[in-house]
Structure formats: structure tokens, C-alpha cells
Symmetry: C2
Subunit: 324 residues, 2 copies
């Protein structure tokens, strides 16, 4: 939604400039959607044992391990990527044991926290992820029209300042995928890095814990009736997926260039070094304008033919919101 049309807010009633939204009573925190991303696994397991830190007035908050088999093996997934499995086709399929483990698990999760797209679905699902990329704290937004989430992200960004927390808008006709959190009315991805797969770093654990704290505080304030005035949120909209240079057999023949490595969210201009071949040649970025790369050299994306993702910076307008 552009700034020029703040009233065309679907599914909300507008009172003056303030949208009235249903309270966010049922909230889930998913960890272990990828079984080797350890911060979410550790935090969710901790909160399952002792939920004091995540209790908030007016909300029922459920910590949940989404892919326990992958967590047990400390792998991303067992049969197929759970965080791509929440398609309409998978969720509506009937049958059982012949499906991959993660498809059956997606159906179970959809029954528990959904059904996806229905009024019975959970209000908010936070899904906790780590990346090997130097992305810092990133909130992933699935829709530019989700004013509740935009307000939450604005709240979190202000609360953790001067530390920073960026917003990745994963709203793209081709590059959007069917996430675990998409079961909820308001899906929130949280991606914190850099952290190697299978490793638990205290700084990343702590950063994730703090963001969750502020997110839950926002939900409590909202449920208590606080009004959040209109605001703007800077986001990075997913644009293009860039693969590694490969030979005819599909083998990688170049690495992320040292000038680009670890520079997630920094501008990449046409002509800037992008890859370095094994024999030391530089391959420049040949796009037509400045982009902001992210998920640079993420371990899990080698198999997805992605060296990094380009994004475009834009500013979204969020309506004021208040509990209906």
C-alpha cells in the first residue's frame, strides 16, 4: 500500500485514521522450523520448561517446536524444507504415510494453529530463524498491507534503538514461499545472524530474546487498548535471487567477492564486485540500479541456487491501529 491511499485497508474498520483490529489473543512462537538453527530451538525449549518470560496479560502464548525430528538430528529438514511446505496443495491433501515427513508435519501444524486463512487461525505466529549471513536482526514481513505487523515492527525498531532491526518484505509474485508462520493471521519471521548451523552463540541468542520481548510487549499494549498512531516503516522489498556462477555440470566456479561478503543491507551498485572466481577474477554486479543484498552466502541456500537476494528500499505507511 502506498502512502497516498491509507484508507484502502482490507479487513479493518477505520475510525478516523485509526483502524480497529481484533485483539491478538492467540500467539505462537515457533522454534526449530529448521532443526539446525539453534537460537530458536534453545529459546523455545527454554520457554516450554518455564514460560514466565513470555507471559503477557490478555494473550495466550504458546512456544512450539515445529520440526522435532530435524531438531533431534540437528539438520535443516528430514525430507523436505518445512518452511516451504505450507502450500494450499499440501495442506488440503488427504492421505498419510506416503507424504514426506515435513508435509505431514505441516498438516498437523495447520490443524493446531490454523487452518491457514480461516477465522480460527492463530492471531500471530513468530517463527525463529538463524542465518549464516551477516544480517543482524531481521524481521520478515509477508504483506505490505499487514498494518498490525507494520505497527509491531515500528514498535520493535524504536524499542531496541540504537541497536538496529531491519524489515525484509517478502512480498513477491514469484519469490514468496509458503512458510510455517503463514498459518497465522499475522505471520512474523525473525532471522538473526550470523550464526553457523548447529552452533549456539550467546550474542545471537540474546538478540533474539530481546526482540521477542519487545514484540510480546507490543501485543500486550495493543490488547490493553493502546492506540498506535499512523507511522512509516522502512522495509527492504525482495527483488531478485542471484545464483553463484556455475559450470556446465552445475558446480560452483566462484565465491561471493570479499567486498560483498558480510555486507548484507549495504548498497551494491552496478559495476561493484560481486563474485570472485577460484582463479581470482572479479565478476561485477551488472544490474541497472543500486540494490541492497541480503542472505549473502547463507549455507542453506546453496541447494536453492541462491548466493544472495537483492532487495529495494522503500517506506511503507502504516495506518494507526487500535483494538476493536
Amino acid at each position: 500500500m502506498g502512502q497516498s491511499e491509507p484508507r484502502s485497508v482490507s479487513g479493518m474498520s477505520l475510525h478516523g485514521s485509526t483502524a480497529r483490529l481484533s485483539e491478538a489473543r492467540r500467539v505462537a512462537i515457533f522454534g526449530g522450523t529448521h532443526g539446525n538453527e539453534m537460537s530458536g530451538v534453545a529459546l523455545v525449549n527454554l520457554w516450554i520448561k518455564n514460560g514466565a518470560d513470555i507471559q503477557r496479560r490478555g494473550a495466550d502464548i504458546k512456544p512450539f517446536i515445529t520440526n522435532p525430528k530435524a531438531v533431534e538430528k540437528c539438520v535443516r529438514y528430514v525430507d523436505t524444507d518445512l518452511n516451504r511446505a505450507f502450500t494450499h496443495e499440501n495442506l488440503s491433501a488427504s492421505g498419510g504415510d506416503e507424504f514426506p515427513y515435513e508435509v505431514r508435519r505441516a498438516q498437523e501444524i495447520n490443524r493446531m494453529f490454523g487452518p491457514k486463512g480461516s477465522p480460527e487461525a492463530y492471531d500471530v505466529i513468530f517463527d525463529l530463524h538463524n542465518t549464516t549471513s551477516n544480517m543482524g536482526c531481521t524481521l520478515i514481513l509477508e504483506s505490505s498491507k499487514d498494518h498490525f505487523n507494520l505497527q509491531m515492527m515500528n514498535y520493535i525498531k524504536k524499542a531496541i534503538s540504537p541497536a538496529s532491526c531491519l524489515v525484509l518484505l517478502n512480498e513477491h509474485p514469484l519469490l514468496k514461499y509458503s512458510t510455517s508462520r503463514s498459518v497465522a493471521k499475522h505471520p512474523v519471521g525473525l532471522e538473526v545472524g550470523p550464526q553457523p548451523q548447529g552452533v549456539l552463540r550467546s550474542n545471537i541468542f540474546e538478540a533474539m530474546r530481546v526482540i521477542l520481548k519487545h514484540a510480546l510487549d507490543f501485543i500486550e499494549l495493543f490488547n490493553e487498548g493502546m492506540e498506535f498512531p499512523p507511522c512509516t516503516v522502512e522495509v527492504f522489498r525482495v527483488s531478485e535471487r542471484i545464483d553463484y556462477p556455475r559450470d556446465a555440470n552445475g558446480n560452483i566456479i566462484a565465491m561471493v567477492h570479499p567486498n560483498l561478503q558480510d555486507c548484507d543491507w549495504e548498497p551494491l551498485n552496478p559495476g561493484d564486485p560481486m563474485f570472485q572466481t577460484f582463479d581470482g577474477k572479479t565478476i561485477p554486479y551488472q544490474g541497472s540500479c543500486t540494490v541492497y543484498p541480503t542472505f549473502i552466502n547463507e549455507a542453506a541456500y546453496y541447494e536453492k541456487q541462491q548466493a544472495f537476494m537483492t532487495t529495494r528500499r522503500e517506506t511503507l505507511a502504516a495506518s494507526g491501529i487500535r483494538k476493536a
Copy 2:
């Protein structure tokens, strides 16, 4: 061997202060002993296609992927850790398909590059590894009495200065294990990090390439008859394995403390913070003297019940050496 007894050099003939050693004609470079440690996999694959960079006069240098199945799956190992599989028991066992894949592979490698401990064994094997720990460039030495390797390490340290390259001496009655490289007369481990599993970073690739270059230069000079005078080499001798604090079910209840994380090779004194529990309590190091931790928070060592390893600094004396 201490500095006070530089003459007790087994298996070498001494001429004055210079030991005469056989030339190092057969040399192998192993990559992919752990299939998700990508620098070695990429370098070895590159050199298999084009060996110009690793050719040296007077030596036959063979790049070799040791665990191709693990490389294909991008995992550390398929059935069991190949780099622990070169035990006398495994290598002398007869039989076949009933053994784990890596045990059969160890037997194959031992036939090709060994037999381990025999005069027919390869002279030098370099085994290329990555770690998620902030260890920088580390050479791993298996015996304080291997004067050829000590001289090589001294040569490399000088050649790459002012960049640094440390030596880990893995000579311990209980903590030594049966590595792939142990098949050779002079086994050299090369461990470069930090790099997440499954990720190829250009800086780590380049650091590993440069160390190998100097190592092979040393072999060429040695084979050409250059004399290397007596020297001393600072090493870090493996001392103790420290596990994460765990609950009664074996679950980790604390992380490496932020003050220790990434501080490989820096002194850890009694009373210094070592772990941080999930609820923020600090657990101090309670040893009796200063140690130098390494392999801090290595991903692959969670399953080996090791949060880090302590080492003691010492200086080894290497005899002068020259080709026999």
C-alpha cells in the same frame, strides 16, 4: 621433546646437529574428510582439474577427495567420522559391506596412501579442514618428535608473517585420535576458520591456499637439498576437553560466555567467565592455571561433548634437517 635433548631423534641419522631425512617425494592433499568443510573440497576439486598451482619439482603431489559421499550430501560424514576411523583395529579388519561407509573408505585410503606405519606409506599428507571457531590458520602437528613437520611449520610461519599461523600439537595419551592424515609418515592437519559448515568464504579459501603454497615450497626446497638449521617452534599442546554444562537428560543449559566466544588462543585464567546459562548466570573457569582455549564453540563438537579444548603453550626445539 624438550629443548634440553635435541639429539634424541628417533629414526634419523644425525650429522653434526643436522638430521638427514628421506626426501618427501610422495605427497597427498586431502579435502572433504569432512564433507561440509568447503575450503578443502573446493581447493582439492580445483587442483584435480588443474594441478599447475601445486606442482613442485622433485615431488609427486596428489589432490584427493577422501569422503566423496559426505561431500555429495554436504554433511560431515555419512555413517561415522572418517577422521576418527584410521584405527589399527579398523584398518586391519577384514570383511566388507557390513562395515560403516567411512570404515570401508578408511581401508581404501590406507591401501592407496599407506599402509599406515609402513615404509610404503606416503611421505606427507595435508588434510584440509574448516572450523566454525575463530581459530584463524592452524597447523595441526601429531608428534613433537616430527622434526620434518616442525621445520615445515617454522617455514610456513615465517613465510606468511606478519599474518599468523599457529600450531596445535595433538599429542595426548587420551585425546589423540586416528586421523585420515595419520596414514602418512608426516601428517599435517590444516584447520582454517571461522567458516560455517556448508559455506565457502573467499577469505578462508585464500588463507588455506596460501598456506598450502608455502608448505609445498618447503617440500620443494627440502627435496632440492636445502639445509634447514635448528629452530624452535611455539606450539599449543592439547590439554583438556571441556564440555558444555548439561542437565540430567544431557541437554545443554549454558552457552560459551560472550567474553570467551571467538577468543581462541587467548589466555583463559582461573576465574574468567567461561559459560553463560540461559538465564544469564556466569560460570567461571575453575582450572588451576592459565590455559589457551581453542576449537571454541565448534559446531561439529556438540555431539562430541566438547565446548572447547584447552591447550598449554610451549616451545619445541627442532633439529636442523637436510635431505639424506
